[in-house]
């Protein structure tokens, strides 16, 4: 096991990793930027090292600053958390080259799963259904022929990059021809690469993902699925398990297929396989996340496992020590991401002082947050303030407890998205478990807020 771990992240996940280290009896060192000097993780740290200025590029994204901090503090492992360098195979390789352990998949595993297209091909070979799509498009004639084969509507996607740039959904050959030119120039402008491909567009899809845990020796288990269909512009807002849209048989088929494919493909450590689920209940693999995810507590509430501890144990070379039969999932859990965003003004990110912070409580209520009264939210990083996770013996109980917890929580002095969460837990579509990934964007969050105000 490791003797000391550097925590190369900030916010709530830095605290979460600190807790896991304490649980395992491993001292930890918090690497922080100047903007996070007064953060909760630094206050609670056994040791803390300032690694650079507020700007992420020179602190949390600086491989050399983080590695130097780890060496200087005498750490033998680095936990990257999520975001920043958590899936960067070059960083993982650097960490290893300096004789330390990267807590996550080894560099060569990260590299093997780095390309989205390559991963789809790889896991497709191991039995996962992938979304119907085209190879790289040579010209418009090729695009038209491929679209015909895949069947409209199709999504035009750039080979490089993400974030919706160069992406268009089209429903006819005419639309396709018009959109190809636009997508090419957008992709060229954004990524200096105008190669495009097509993907089948699924109407009213849901986003369902499977948590896997695989050790170095090829022992792996899945820890069930999570449903992340409540999204705004491809950002997850609410996640829950089990998925309200799937039968037990469907869940079993999905999770079994996922764990079998990743173990065969040589995956290692914690991972999440993301799928789109169509109206007929068919699932299609889209991508794998090679890190701990924001929404991991949902799975922890159901399984009783500590996924960050598992991550550390596996990185240290310990065998899993249990099998699929030992993993049992109980009840239902829902996570609400609480962000410093103004829902009334296009979700503009907010910064400033949190004057009062009062977390909720009661049975099944867990609050993972780095907030405290008087904490100043710096403007440099993402706007997540914390996560409220609520467990109940079934979805009905989880929802009732969620409503109470959302009423109890106080975050004053800064604008948050709490009003949207409070509206959602009263909204028929959410209560019925009928959310699809594009619903919030299509209807607009104002509709949900208005409905709640009228009720």
């Amino acid at each position: 096991m490791f003797s000391k771990i550097l925590i190369a992240n900030r916010g709530e996940i830095a605290l979460r990793i600190q807790r896991a280290c304490a649980q395992l009896g491993i001292p930890s060192v918090v690497a922080y930027s100047e903007a996070d000097r007064d953060s909760r993780a630094v206050q609670l740290a056994d040791e803390a090292v300032c690694i650079g200025p507020a700007e992420s590029r020179r602190s949390y994204l600086s491989a050399s600053a983080l590695l130097s901090a780890a060496l200087v503090a005498g750490c033998d492992a680095i936990h990257p958390g999520y975001g920043f360098l958590s899936e960067d195979d070059t960083f993982a390789e650097m960490v290893r080259a300096h004789g330390l352990t990267f807590i996550g998949p080894p560099a060569e595993v990260l590299e093997r799963f780095a390309s989205k297209a390559g991963t789809r091909t790889l896991l497709g070979k191991h039995g996962l259904p992938t979304i119907p799509g085209s190879p790289m498009l040579r010209d418009d004639a090729h695009a038209l022929a491929e679209a015909e084969r895949i069947d409209y509507p199709v999504l035009i996607k750039p080979s490089a990059g993400g974030g919706g740039k160069g992406m268009r959904m089209v429903r006819s050959p005419r639309e396709l021809q018009q959109a190809m030119t636009i997508c090419r120039s957008e992709a060229m402008a954004a990524f200096h690469d105008d190669s495009l491909y097509l993907e089948k567009w699924l109407e009213d899809n849901r986003h369902v993902e499977v948590q896997v845990v695989v050790d170095r020796y090829g022992n792996g288990v899945h820890v069930g699925e999570r449903d992340c269909s409540v999204q705004r512009r491809h950002q997850k807002l609410v996640e829950e398990a089990r998925s309200p849209a799937m039968s037990d048989g469907q869940r079993e088929a999905l999770c079994e297929a996922a764990i079998k494919a990743v173990v065969e493909a040589g995956y290692e450590n914690l991972g999440t396989l993301e799928f789109l689920l169509d109206r007929e209940g068919k699932f299609y693999f889209i991508e794998i996340n090679c890190r701990i995810q924001v929404e991991h507590p949902v799975t922890e509430m159901l399984s009783g496992m500590d996924l960050v501890c598992e991550q550390i144990r596996i990185a240290a070379g310990e065998p899993l020590g249990y099998t699929q039969q030992d993993v049992s999932l109980r009840g239902h859990a829902i996570e609400f991401r609480i962000n410093a965003e103004d829902t009334a003004h296009d979700f503009r990110p907010q910064a400033g002082v949190v004057e009062t912070y009062l977390p909720p409580g009661g049975p099944g209520v867990r609050m993972d947050s780095h907030l405290y009264s008087g904490y100043e939210v710096p403007p440099y990083y993402d706007s997540m303030l914390g996560k409220l996770i609520v467990w109940g013996s079934d979805r009905h109980e989880a929802l009732a407890r969620s409503r109470q917890a959302l009423d109890e929580i106080v975050v004053d002095g800064i604008v948050t998205n709490l009003p949207l969460h409070r509206a959602l837990v009263h909204h028929r579509t959410f209560l019925d478990g009928e959310f699809t990934t594009n619903l919030l964007d299509r209807v607009g969050s104002a509709a949900f807020l208005d409905a709640a105000a009228a009720a």
């Binding site: 056994d46 200087v72 503090a73």
Partner: protein, 165 residues
């Protein structure tokens, strides 16, 4: 599909030839001349990474073994650093560390020496790459706050320079 794979194969061969004949030799030359421990070039889905042997590239200065004690004790840094905003506090002539690593003073530099703004006072070694520590003002070097080979964090006071009146 098969056409495309053929094209990819041909592109691949051309790229390998170019990498072997031009890119790699050039990189080796640049890495040898530099103080860097590692160089990486990415292009069109290809990546070339060169690294010097571990000992050569990342050995800390001879005097600097791993810090035997914590760099910072909890609480201490919050109090002692609350005023250390920018890495260089020009007004008071405090020279702050530009990076996290091991400090070494410039050879031959003496306490009391006259220094000009921008003069080199020492280095902070970050994985074998030296980050310069320079005087923020014209004046006299009054003291080093850390010893040669000591671990420093970003923003930590390293030296005091008394500004000319």
């Amino acid at each position: 599909m098969s056409d495309e794979m053929d094209e990819e194969m041909q592109d691949g061969r051309a790229t390998i030839a170019r990498l072997a004949e031009h890119v790699v030799p050039e990189l080796i030359e640049r890495l040898t001349k530099s103080e860097l421990g590692e160089l990486e070039v990415r292009e069109n889905g290809w990546r070339v990474r060169l690294r010097k042997p571990l000992g050569e590239a990342v050995a800390p200065p001879a005097a600097a073994a791993r810090a035997p004690h914590p760099v910072m004790a909890p609480g201490v840094h919050v109090a002692s650093h609350s005023s250390a905003g920018a890495p260089r506090d020009t007004a008071r002539g405090i020279v702050a560390s530009p990076a996290v690593g091991y400090f070494a003073p410039r050879r031959g530099i003496e306490i009391g020496a006259a220094v000009s703004s921008g003069d080199l006072l020492g280095h902070v070694d970050v994985l074998g790459v030296r980050h310069e520590v320079v005087s923020p003002v014209n004046g006299a070097l009054r003291a080093f706050e850390v010893e040669s080979g000591q671990a420093v964090e970003y923003g930590q006071p390293i030296a005091r320079v008394e500004a000319e009146a």
